[in-house]
C-alpha cells in the first residue's frame, strides 16, 4: 500500500464514521473522545516511545491547553482558532520549560517528577479561582463550526477535530522518519551515544517535551470547547495513566498502534460512564490485564508473530530446496 493511500485511509475512517453517525449525539461524542485520546496517545508515543522520556505529565498539559483555550475565548472573545493557537503556544512553552530543568533526571524518577507536575497543575487550577474558576470550573465556550456548510453541528466539530488529528498524525509520522526524528530516537538508547554523534541531548529532550506538550494542549483546546465545561476533576492523574495504558495496549513505539489502543480503551471506557460506581474498577482491571498480559503491546506482538511465522516458513522452504 502506497503511503498517500494509507494516509488517505486514516483520514477517511473518522470522517466516514462521523458522517455515518450523524444525528446520534452519543455515538458522535464517543468518536470525538476516540480522536482526543488518540491525540494524547500520539503525544505519549512521541515523548515516551520515540524519544524514550517517561512522562506522566499528559494530564497537566491537557489541562493547561484546555484552560488556555477557554480563557482566551471567554476573556478576550477570541474565536476557537485563536484559542487553539494560544493553547498550542502556551503548552509548548510549558513543555519546553518543564523539559529544561529535568534534564538530569532519568527512568522512573522522570515519571515521578512529571507526576508531581500533573499534581501541581491540578492544585493550581483548583486554587487559582480568579483565573480558572476553581472547583466551579469554566463554562460557556462555544463549539466551532465550519462556515458555508450545513451538517450536524457535532459532525462539523468532529470534522475539524479529525483534520487536526490527521495533521498531527502525518506530522508525527514524518518527524519520526526524518533526520531530526532519528536524532531524537537516539536519546532512548544512550545519552552518551547521542552526545558522541553530535546530537545535543539537552535540545532534543526539551523539544521532545515541548512537541508532546503542544499536542496535548491542542487536544485540551478541543476537549474544552467540545464539553463546554472544564473543571479540575477532568484533568486528574487517571488521564495520564489511562493514556499510557492505551499506548501500551497498542504498542509504545508505534503511532498507529497507539491510535488503535486509544480507540479500543475509549470504546471500553465510554459506555462504562453509565455506571459511575463500577467504572474505575473495571477500567483499572482492564488496564492491569493489558499491562500484565501484553506489556509489549498488541501491534508489536502481532508483528513479531508474523515475522516469526514468515521466518520459520522461509526456513522450511530453505531446508526443502
Amino acid at each position: 500500500m502506497g503511503k498517500p493511500l494509507e494516509y488517505a485511509l486514516w483520514l477517511a475512517v473518522p470522517l466516514a464514521a462521523g458522517a455515518f453517525l450523524q444525528g446520534d449525539a452519543y455515538a458522535l461524542s464517543v468518536l470525538v473522545f476516540v480522536l482526543i485520546y488518540g491525540l494524547l496517545a500520539m503525544a505519549t508515543v512521541l515523548c515516551m516511545g520515540h524519544a524514550g522520556q517517561i512522562t506522566l505529565a499528559q494530564a497537566g498539559f491537557f489541562a493547561i491547553g484546555a484552560y488556555a483555550a477557554s480563557i482566551t475565548e471567554l476573556e478576550l472573545g477570541a474565536p476557537f482558532a485563536g484559542g487553539l493557537i494560544m493553547a498550542l503556544v502556551v503548552t509548548g512553552l510549558c513543555g519546553y520549560a518543564l523539559g529544561y530543568p529535568i534534564l538530569r533526571v532519568k527512568g522512573h524518577f522522570l515519571g515521578l517528577i512529571t507526576l508531581a507536575f500533573t499534581q501541581v497543575v491540578n492544585e493550581v487550577v483548583t486554587h487559582w479561582t480568579s483565573l480558572t474558576g476553581g472547583v466551579n470550573g469554566l463554562y460557556g465556550m462555544s463549539q466551532p463550526s465550519i462556515p458555508f456548510v450545513e451538517f450536524d453541528p457535532l459532525y462539523e466539530f468532529a470534522i475539524l477535530l479529525a483534520l487536526f488529528w490527521f495533521t498531527v498524525f502525518v506530522a508525527c509520522g514524518n518527524l519520526i522518519n526524518s533526520r531530526y526524528g532519528r536524532a531524537m530516537h537516539m536519546l532512548k538508547f544512550s545519552d552518551w551515544g547521542a552526545q558522541a554523534n553530535g546530537i545535543s541531548v539537552a535540545r532534543y529532550k526539551c523539544e521532545a517535551f515541548a512537541l508532546s506538550a503542544a499536542i496535548c494542549g491542542g487536544a485540551g483546546a478541543f476537549y474544552a470547547t467540545f464539553i463546554q465545561y472544564i473543571g479540575p476533576e477532568s484533568f486528574t492523574l487517571e488521564v495520564s495513566i489511562g493514556v499510557i495504558a492505551m499506548c501500551i495496549l497498542g504498542g509504545m513505539t508505534d503511532l498507529r498502534g497507539a491510535i488503535l489502543g486509544a480507540a479500543a480503551l475509549t470504546l471500553v471506557n465510554e459506555p462504562l460512564r453509565m455506571v459511575p460506581e463500577l467504572q474505575p474498577v473495571i477500567y483499572a482491571l482492564v488496564i492491569l490485564l493489558v499491562i500484565v498480559l501484553l506489556p509489549q503491546g498488541v501491534v508489536p506482538t502481532l508483528r513479531r508473530l508474523f515475522a516469526e511465522r514468515r521466518a520459520s516458513r522461509q526456513a522450511v522452504e530453505a531446508s526443502r530446496s
Binding site: 533526571v105 515519571g111 517528577i113 486554587h127 495513566i241 492491569l288
Partner: protein
C-alpha cells in the same frame, strides 16, 4: 506577624510531628519496596487505606478489643497485598521500570474503586483509642491519639531496625538494594524478595492505617495523597537510605503543617509537590542521599 508565628508554633510542631510520623512510615515503605525490587510503589497509600478499612471492620463493626483488632488489621492487610503482588506486580517485575510503576498506579485506582463500590462515598468514623480530650504539652494541644501514632511509629521503626540488621530476610533485602544482580549471584531469590518487600510494606501500612484511622476516618480517596506525601518524604531524604527517608517523611509532615498553619491550607499540597519537584531536579538522590 512574628507574635502570631510564635503563638501557633508549638501547636504546629505537635501536629506536624504527628502527621510527619505517618508520612515517615510511608516513606519507609517506599524505601523497603524500592530497595527490594527497584519499583516505586504508588499503591502504597492505598495499602494504608486497606488498613483503615480493616480496622473499621474489626474494631468498630465486629467490636473486637484493640489488642486483637490491630494485629488482625496488620495481618489482613499483609495478606490482601501479597495476593495482589503475586497476581500483578510479580509478573511484570523484570519489565522496564515504567511498567511496574503503572501497574501500581492502576492497582491504586482499583483499590479506591473497589472500596468506593462496596462502601459508598460516606467516610466512616473510627472512635479514638483513648478518648478525645486534648492533652496540653508545651503550649500545644495534642489528641491522645497522637501518642498512639507516635508510639506506634517508634515501635514499628525499632522492629524494622532489628529486622534489617539481625534477620536473614532483612539482610538479603539490603543486599538487593546495594546490588540487585550481585545479590542474585550469591543466591538471593529475587521473586521471594519482591513478595517479601511488598508484604513487609503492607504490614507497616496496615499498622499505620490502624493507628491513624481515628484522625483521618475511613475514606477511599486518601490513598493517592498518602502515596504522594510518603514518596515526597522518601525522595526528599534519599530513597536508598531508610533513616534518611524517615527524616524526609517527618520533614514533609512538618512542612505541610507549617504551610497550612501559617499561610493557608489551600497551598499545602502545592508547596509539598513544588519542593518535591525542586529536590528531584537539584538532587535526584535526595538531600541526605549520596552522590549517584
Amino acid at each position: 506577624m512574628f507574635d502570631f508565628v510564635l503563638a501557633v508554633l508549638p501547636q504546629v510542631i505537635v501536629t506536624g510531628l504527628m502527621l510527619g510520623s505517618i508520612y515517615a512510615l510511608l516513606s519507609l515503605c517506599f524505601c523497603v519496596v524500592h530497595a527490594g525490587t527497584g519499583v516505586i510503589n504508588f499503591a502504597q497509600g492505598d495499602f494504608v487505606v486497606i488498613g483503615l478499612v480493616f480496622i473499621w471492620l474489626t474494631y468498630v463493626d465486629l467490636q473486637l478489643p484493640l489488642l486483637i483488632a490491630i494485629p488482625l488489621t496488620v495481618l489482613l492487610t499483609g495478606l490482601v497485598v501479597t495476593i495482589m503482588e503475586r497476581l500483578t506486580i510479580a509478573r511484570v517485575i523484570d519489565q522496564e521500570p515504567i511498567i511496574p510503576l503503572l501497574v501500581t498506579l492502576a492497582l491504586g485506582i482499583l483499590i479506591r474503586g473497589v472500596i468506593h463500590l462496596v462502601w459508598g462515598t460516606q467516610p466512616r468514623m473510627v472512635p479514638h483509642f483513648s478518648g478525645d480530650t486534648p492533652i496540653l504539652i508545651a503550649g500545644g494541644a495534642a489528641l491522645p491519639q497522637t501518642f498512639w501514632i507516635a508510639g506506634g511509629a517508634v515501635l514499628i521503626m525499632i522492629a524494622l531496625y532489628f529486622f534489617f540488621t539481625k534477620t536473614l530476610f532483612g539482610l538479603s533485602i539490603r543486599a538487593s538494594a546495594t546490588d540487585r544482580e550481585g545479590a542474585q549471584v550469591i543466591g538471593v531469590n529475587a521473586g521471594l524478595i519482591s513478595l517479601f518487600a511488598f508484604g513487609l510494606s503492607a504490614l507497616i501500612s496496615g499498622g499505620a492505617g490502624a493507628l491513624v484511622a481515628p484522625i483521618t476516618n475511613v475514606d477511599a480517596y486518601l490513598g493517592l495523597e498518602f502515596s504522594l506525601k510518603g514518596f515526597a518524604g522518601a525522595v526528599l531524604g534519599g530513597i536508598d537510605k531508610p533513616v534518611a527517608a524517615l527524616a524526609g517523611g517527618l520533614f514533609i509532615g512538618l512542612l505541610e503543617t507549617f504551610v497550612s498553619g501559617l499561610i493557608s491550607s489551600e497551598y499545602r499540597n502545592m508547596v509539598v509537590f513544588g519542593v518535591l519537584m525542586i529536590v528531584l531536579i537539584v538532587r535526584p538522590n535526595g538531600l541526605l542521599g549520596g552522590k549517584g
